[in-house]
């Protein structure tokens, strides 16, 4: 048992470290390091432009989308090299956030289902960050129940005509392309009538409206489709096979190994280490210490769970199911951590933004936290996944499984 790199891994790490040291946008390092959930903007620069520039620089030197094949703009690296890279990239990895959906979900789906010429055309600029992609799955009527979506695609000549509405689309407002899950046959059970496409987000009839989130910020959008035409050659997979195609996408969403999940703990520990309460230093308060200890072991538990997965990758094995706990644990933890940090501030905890303690760091965290427990699979869906796929418990009884989609009730009452 050890934490050492193999000689090849050490060599790769050294190369990556040297390149990052020489090329990363260091002027933003401090700000990126201090960013936390709900607060990642740069004060004096457009983070989107900085992120795109960094991604392009990486792509030009062969450091973009490490795990992708070279012909599509990647490096053909092994999974462990990808992990080492993200460890070395450190705070600059924050700049990759706007590409996560495109690189982690859209790209792999295109690779598995798009025509070869499309892969060669669309994937390299996606890898280099010149083009940004989004994923159009969720709808007002289909969040956790994605297969309940209602956006229609109807065949008209060589095109498909799209009408409907998507919601919670991350980054749609700056995206160039998107992958889109639609209903092509409402007369068959819900999982069987779906078809996947990719489309140009600048197509006529696509309208993007930012959602003002509960936190006040706008990271997500509603996207409306009114008679949007998509040529049939942009279909991904067979007609009616969209559900299977979407599983490829979603599996990639949940398998990001070694991606550091934010728990808020380092921020809280640092805060409590210097905070004075009415009757002395917070870190010497019994109640504070007990809370910190409980969160400390969750944070370290997640860290070493991830190290176990990385070790499996290093040996060329498939990681076990342990990593599925990350989002579930971190999501509710960061919410609790933020709540507690404010509690320690007393009445002044209600003051947020620049007027607040630490320029409102924990206030911003608190307001953004509810989203982390919902996006990419709610806590409840994550528990179902653990129960069913890891523990082998039965799936839910699905009352709509064999019912034609257009016969499924759409209202809970009245």
């Amino acid at each position: 048992m050890n934490f050492d790199d193999t000689p090849q891994e050490a060599e790769f790490r050294a190369t990556a470290r040297a390149w990052i040291g020489a090329n990363a946008p260091k002027q933003y390092e401090d700000e990126l390091r201090k960013s936390s959930l709900g607060r990642t903007a740069l004060k004096n620069a457009d983070i989107l432009a900085v992120a795109k520039a960094w991604q392009k620089k990486k792509a030009d030197a062969g450091w973009a989308c490490l795990h992708w094949p070279k012909e599509y703009g990647g490096r053909g690296s092994s999974p462990i090299e990808r992990v080492i890279w993200s460890q070395e990239e450190g705070p600059f990895g924050q700049l990759s956030r706007m590409f996560i959906i495109g690189h982690g979900m859209c790209g792999p789906t295109m690779m598995a289902f798009a025509r070869e010429e499309h892969k060669r055309t669309y994937l390299p600029p996606l890898a280099s960050g010149e083009k940004v992609w989004c994923q159009l799955f969720s709808e007002p009527a289909g969040g956790s129940d994605v297969a309940g979506l209602r956006t229609r695609a109807e065949k008209d000549g060589d095109d498909w005509v799209i009408n409907g509405q998507k919601i919670w689309t991350s980054g749609a407002h700056y995206s160039d392309y998107g992958i889109l899950l639609t209903r092509t046959d409402p007369t068959v059970p819900k999982h069987k009538g779906l078809t996947m496409f990719f489309l140009d987000m600048k197509s006529p009839g696509v309208e993007v409206r930012p959602i003002k989130q509960a936190s006040g910020a706008s990271d997500f959008n509603e996207v409306y489709f009114t008679n949007v035409r998509i040529p049939d050659h942009q279909r991904l997979g067979e007609v009616g096979d969209g559900w299977n195609v979407s599983l490829t996408t979603l599996m990639n969403e949940r398998s990001a190994i070694g991606a550091a999940v934010s728990t808020g703990f380092p921020e809280l520990f640092e805060y409590c280490s210097s905070l004075m309460l009415d009757d002395g230093p917070a870190i010497e308060d019994r109640a504070v210490r007990s809370k910190l200890a409980n969160w400390a072991v969750k944070a370290s538990g997640l860290k070493y769970t991830s190290m176990r997965a990385i070790s499996a990758l290093s040996k060329g094995e498939r990681p076990g199911p342990e990593n599925s706990i990350g989002k579930l644990v971190a999501g509710s933890m960061i919410q609790d951590v933020a709540t507690y940090a404010l509690d320690l501030q007393g009445a002044n905890g209600a003051v947020s933004g620049e007027d607040g303690e630490l320029a409102g760091r924990f206030q911003a965290m608190l307001l953004r936290a509810p989203g982390t427990r919902v996006e990419g699979g709610t806590d409840e869906i994550m528990r179902n996944i653990i129960a069913e796929r890891v523990l082998g418990l039965p799936g839910d009884i699905r009352v709509d499984k064999d019912v034609p989609f257009n016969k499924i009730p759409t209202k809970g009452r009245g």
Binding site: M1, N2, F3, D4, D5, E9, I80, F269, S273, I283, R286, R289, S290, L292, A293, N294, A296, V297, K298, S300, G301, L302, K303, Y304, T305, M307, R308, I310, S311, A312, S314, K315, E322, I325, L328, V329, E380, M382, R383, N384, I386, A387, E388, V390, L391, G392, L393, P394, G395, D396, I397
Partner: protein, 375 residues
């Protein structure tokens, strides 16, 4: 990076699991639970023959000389099987204390006897309620004789010898504490069994009256040795707790698959599924923290104090969580003497206290994290 046990170590774990499944069935555990034997003597002998008792004891002292990672995988299986033997007191506490501080003669006398199963050892630290602290040690040592009462002492009624924490000074500092080795079969010792939460591992009160004792380690070094012993035992106990957590989770999962209510498997209800998913989460966090503890223990890393406290807290929480919710999944049947659920519930809650309670280890963890940050 290779943050995992080796194939050989995993093989050893499988071997231990197979051995314990055969020799330590719940039926065998119940012989001790029901008070028909103070511990599973045949099993203890078998563990010695398998080389498990001395796995981390050097060969020159009659052990297998393998190491602490090997001991960790065996500990996990001991916890999984809920083994009713004095493994933790003898192997994690007494043997570790001897390895850290014992003289050549002391090691020669006791370590081979531990490895061969002939001697049961324990640590006599507590004196009534309270957590490990120098001020709680009142038993005195003067002129090589001990006077005072220790309680509770794990496996005290069946132990052949004990490492005893005694007061040798009154400066109010850690240096007031020294350790002694006591042959419990010699004079000056009175042992009384105590009823306790987990009858599969006995607790005793031991009174020392002008009892002859042999210093273990230098005078005044007792607390520093104890701290090391407790840290090492915390990691090893964490593996037992991880094994117990996994077993309790499996029992709950299996019952949820087998039991039908309202015309369906109860494991198809989300309320039950989510409870089991949360148990898996706790058990996984505990396992990962314990692996880190194992790494620190086996390499004697500077991170050991922090890693041990984290493993201790995480594994204690996980075992308590899994054991109590295993009963909940079982419903009424889980609350019967007949079902095995309560054996894990008892063990989980007794283990949560044995090396000092959760609040003690929470305090330790924060102190150690601060120390690291200050360094």
């Amino acid at each position: 990076m290779n943050f995992d046990f080796s194939d050989d170590q995993k093989q050893l774990r499988d071997q231990a699991r197979k051995f314990l499944a055969e020799k330590c069935s719940p039926k065998a555990v119940r012989i001790v639970l029901d008070g028909k034997a103070p511990y599973a003597k045949e099993l203890w002998k078998g563990l010695a023959e398998m080389g498990f008792l001395g796995v981390a004891i050097p060969e020159e002292f009659g052990g297998a000389g393998a190491g602490h990672l090997e001991l960790c995988v065996i500990a996990e299986e001991m916890g999984r099987a809920n083994a009713p033997v004095p493994f933790s007191s003898t192997v994690y506490l007494a043997a570790e204390a001897l390895l850290i501080a014992g003289s050549e003669a002391q090691k020669k006398k006791w370590l081979p006897a531990i490895a061969s199963g002939e001697a049961i050892g324990t640590l006599a630290l507590f004196e009534g309620k309270g957590n490990p602290a120098p001020k709680n040690v009142k038993l005195t040592a003067a002129n090589g004789a001990l006077n005072g009462v220790k309680k509770p002492v794990a496996d005290g009624a069946i132990a052949d010898f004990a490492v005893v924490a005694a007061r040798t000074g009154s400066s109010g500092r850690e240096a007031d504490i020294s350790l002694f080795l006591v042959d419990l079969k010699a004079g000056g010792v009175e042992v009384k069994s105590l009823t306790n939460l987990d009858p599969t591992r006995g607790q005793a009160e031991i009174s020392f009256k002008d009892c002859k004792a042999d210093p273990l380690g230098a005078a005044g070094e007792g607390w520093s040795i104890l701290t090391q012993v407790l840290d090492r035992a915390a990691v090893l106990c964490a593996f037992e707790q991880v094994g117990g957590s996994d077993r309790a989770l499996e029992m709950g999962r299996d019952y949820a698959l087998d039991r039908i209510a309202f015309g369906r498997q109860i494991g198809s209800f989300q309320a039950v599924k989510h409870m089991l998913a949360d148990m898996y989460v706790s058990a996984t966090l505990a396992r990962s923290n314990s692996y880190y503890g194992a790494w620190a223990l086996s390499t004697n890393a500077a991170e050991l104090p922090e890693a041990a406290a984290a493993a201790r807290i995480s594994a204690t929480q996980a075992f308590q969580h899994c054991a109590k919710n295993n009963i909940q999944v079982h419903g009424g049947m889980g609350f019967t003497w007949e079902f095995d659920c309560h054996m894990y519930y008892r063990r989980a809650n007794a283990m949560a206290l044995g090396l000092g309670s959760l609040s003690y280890w929470e305090d330790q963890l924060i102190d150690r994290m601060r120390k690291k940050n200050a360094a």
